[in-house]
C-alpha cells in the first residue's frame, strides 16, 4: 500500500516537473523581454545573463524622449480599429448567409474564403503595391486597412459561419412568420445572440492587424507607421539602445497580450476555427 502511494507521488512529481520544464521554455523569452525593458541598460547584455537586478523606468523615459512612440501607438490603433470594423462587418454578413442558406454554392463559397485565408500576403504584394500606387493611396491608412481586411474577412467569415451553425434558427423562422423580412430577422433576432461570435472575430481581426508588419512595411508612409515599423526603425538606428527597443516592444505586445488573457474564452474558441462547438 505504501509502495503504491510512493509510486503515485513520484508520478505526480514527474508530471509537475515536465510541466515546469515546458513552461520554462515557453516563458523564458517573454521574461527576458520584460526584464530587459526594466533593466539598467548597461546590464541588458551582461554575461552571464543577469536574472536579478534593480528595476528602473529609465528605458521607458528614454523611449518617450528618443522615439515617436505615441504617434506609432495612435497609428496602430487607427489601423487595427479600421481593419476590425471592416472585416467584422463584411464577415458577419457573409458568415450568416453561408450558415443560413446551406447549398452547394454556399459550401463552395466557404471553401473559396478558406483559400483566400491560405494565400500568403507576399504573393499579392506586388499587385497590392501597384494598385495602391495607382489609386494614390500609398502611405495612407486606407491602403493598409483595405488589404489587411481582405485577409481577415475570409477568416472572420469562416468563424461566423461556424458560429451561426451552432445557433438554432427557430427564433428567426418565427420572426419571418410574424412578418419580418430576412434582414430584419438577422438584425433583431440573430445579431443579438451573436455577441460571443462577434467578440471572437473582433479579437482575431484586431490582433492580426496589430501584429502585422509586412503590409505596413510597403504601404504605410512616414505619418501612418504603426508600432511594429516604429520598432524596426528604432532597431536600425544607432542611437537607440536595445533597452529602449525592449521598452517599445513591451508597449507593443502588452495590449494584445492583455486582450488575449482577459478574453481567452473567445480566443480559444476562435483557435479551433469552430472545430469544437462550445
Amino acid at each position: 500500500m505504501n509502495r503504491h502511494r510512493a509510486a503515485r507521488l513520484a508520478r505526480q512529481l514527474a508530471i509537475y516537473l515536465l510541466i515546469a520544464l515546458v513552461l520554462a521554455f515557453f516563458l523564458m523569452p517573454i521574461v527576458w523581454l520584460f526584464q530587459t525593458s526594466l533593466k539598467p541598460s548597461r546590464d541588458a547584455f551582461a554575461i552571464p545573463p543577469m536574472w536579478w537586478f534593480s528595476p528602473t523606468w529609465a528605458n521607458f523615459e528614454r523611449m518617450f524622449a528618443t522615439t515617436r512612440v505615441v504617434e506609432y501607438l495612435r497609428n496602430s490603433l487607427i489601423i487595427a480599429s479600421g481593419t476590425t470594423a471592416l472585416s467584422v462587418a463584411l464577415g458577419l454578413l457573409a458568415g450568416y448567409g453561408l450558415a443560413r442558406h446551406p447549398s452547394r454554392t454556399s459550401d463552395g463559397l466557404a471553401l473559396a474564403m478558406l483559400a483566400v485565408r491560405m494565400a500568403p500576403p507576399v504573393a499579392m504584394l506586388i499587385p497590392f503595391y501597384l494598385m495602391m500606387r495607382d489609386l494614390g493611396l500609398l502611405g495612407s491608412y486606407p491602403a493598409v486597412i483595405l488589404l489587411q481586411s481582405v485577409l481577415n474577412t475570409a477568416f472572420v467569415t469562416w468563424l461566423m459561419r461556424g458560429y451561426f451553425l451552432t445557433l438554432p434558427k427557430d427564433m428567426e423562422e418565427s420572426a419571418l412568420i410574424d412578418g419580418c423580412n430576412r434582414f430584419q430577422a438577422f438584425l433583431y433576432v440573430a445579431l443579438p445572440m451573436a455577441g460571443p461570435g462577434v467578440a471572437t472575430g473582433a479579437i482575431f481581426a484586431f490582433t492580426l492587424s496589430w501584429n502585422d508588419f509586412l503590409l505596413p512595411l510597403i504601404l504605410s508612409g512616414r505619418r501612418t507607421r504603426p508600432l511594429t515599423l516604429g520598432i524596426l526603425e528604432a532597431f536600425s538606428s544607432v542611437e537607440i539602445a536595445w533597452s529602449a527597443i525592449a521598452a517599445m516592444s513591451v508597449v507593443t505586445v502588452l495590449p494584445v497580450v492583455l486582450i488575449g488573457l482577459l478574453l481567452q474564452r473567445y480566443l480559444i474558441r476562435g483557435l479551433t476555427l469552430g472545430a469544437i462547438r462550445g
Partner: protein, 301 residues
C-alpha cells in the same frame, strides 16, 4: 408585397446566400482576385519600376524560365519546404505531447493554460527581435548557455549556415506549439469520458485508451490544426526579415523573402510576380489536398 418578398427569400436558397455574401465577395474580387490576375499579367513583362524611362516589354514566359534557372530561387523553394516540414512535424508532435500532459486533474491548470496562451498573441516581429538578441554570439543568453553545455556555435545559432534555418524553425516552434497544444487540449477535454470508463472496465490500459479512443476522436481537430499551421508557416517572413535577411549566404533564403526582395527592394516587378505565381501554385497544391481531406472529414461527422 411583404409576403412575396419573404417567399422569394426563403425559396431561392441559393440566391439567398449570395446576397449576404455579396459585399464580402465584391470586396475580395477587387482586392484579392483582381490582384492575383494583375500579378499574372505583370509576370509576362519585363517590368522595372525603378527606371521610368524603361519600357515595359512583353517577354512571354521568360520570367518563369528565368525562375527555374535561378539557383537562389531554387534554394529558397528547398528551404521553404524544409522549414514547413521541420516546423509542422515538431509542432504537431510536441503540441500533442503537451496536450496529453495537461489533460488531467491538475491544480492551477487555468493559470498554466493562460501562460501558454501568451506566446501566440505576441507580435511576431517582436518575437523575432527577442530571439535574435538571445541568439547573438557575443552577448545572447541562448548562445551563452549553449556554450556552458559545451556547444560552441562559432558565430551563434543564426550566424552559422549549418544551424541558421533550424534556429529560425525553433522560433516558429516556440511561438506556435502552444496554439497546437491548446487546440488539442480543448479537443481532449470535450471528449466523452464514458467511453474511457467503458474501455477501462474492459481492461484497456492508458496507452490503449489513448491510441484507440482519444486519438481517433481527435482526428478532426488534428486536421484543422495541421491546416492552420501549414497555411501560416508558408507565410514565414518576419523572422527572416528581422534576423537573417536570408543569410548567411542563402542559408535562410525562403520564397516569401526572396519575392519581397526582388519586387520591393530591386523593383524587378515582373520577375517577382512570376515567382509569386509559382508560390501560389505550390500552396494551391497543399490547399487542394487539405480541402479534400476536410470535405471528407465533414462528411463523416
Amino acid at each position: 408585397m411583404m409576403r412575396r418578398t419573404v417567399r422569394w427569400w426563403t425559396r431561392a436558397g441559393r440566391v439567398g446566400s449570395l446576397i449576404w455574401v455579396a459585399p464580402a465577395l465584391l470586396f475580395m474580387l477587387a482586392f484579392a482576385i483582381y490582384p492575383v490576375g494583375y500579378s499574372l499579367y505583370i509576370s509576362l513583362f519585363d517590368y522595372h519600376l525603378i527606371d521610368p524611362t524603361r519600357e515595359q516589354v512583353f517577354v512571354g514566359l521568360a520570367n518563369y524560365v528565368r525562375a527555374f534557372g535561378d539557383q537562389v530561387f531554387l534554394v529558397a523553394i528547398r528551404n521553404t519546404l524544409l522549414f514547413v516540414v521541420m516546423a509542422i512535424g515538431t509542432q504537431m508532435l510536441l503540441g500533442l505531447g503537451i496536450a496529453v500532459l495537461l489533460n488531467r486533474e491538475l491544480r492551477g491548470i487555468g493559470i498554466i493554460r493562460s501562460l501558454l496562451l501568451v506566446p501566440l498573441t505576441l507580435t511576431p516581429l517582436v518575437v523575432a527581435l527577442v530571439w535574435g538578441a538571445l541568439y547573438n554570439a557575443d552577448f545572447g543568453a541562448v548562445s551563452y548557455y549553449l556554450k556552458l553545455l559545451g556547444l560552441d556555435i562559432g558565430r551563434g545559432p543564426v550566424g552559422e549556415p549549418r544551424t541558421a534555418l533550424a534556429s529560425l524553425v525553433v522560433i516558429d516552434i516556440w511561438q506556435w506549439t502552444p496554439l497546437v497544444a491548446l487546440m488539442l487540449l480543448a479537443g481532449l477535454q470535450a471528449q466523452n469520458q464514458e467511453l474511457f470508463e467503458a474501455a477501462r472496465l474492459d481492461g484497456a490500459n492508458g496507452v490503449q485508451q489513448f491510441l484507440h479512443i482519444a486519438l481517433p476522436l481527435l482526428r478532426p481537430i488534428l486536421i484543422v490544426a495541421l491546416l492552420i499551421r501549414t497555411m501560416d508557416v508558408f507565410k514565414l517572413f518576419d523572422s527572416v526579415y528581422a534576423i537573417t535577411g536570408g543569410g548567411p549566404g542563402s542559408a535562410t533564403e525562403v520564397m516569401n523573402f526572396y519575392i519581397f526582395k526582388t519586387g520591393l527592394t530591386f523593383f524587378d516587378m515582373g520577375y517577382a510576380a512570376s515567382m509569386s505565381t509559382l508560390l501560389l501554385v505550390l500552396i494551391s497544391f497543399f490547399t487542394a489536398i487539405y480541402i479534400r481531406v476536410i470535405g471528407r472529414t465533414e462528411a463523416y461527422g
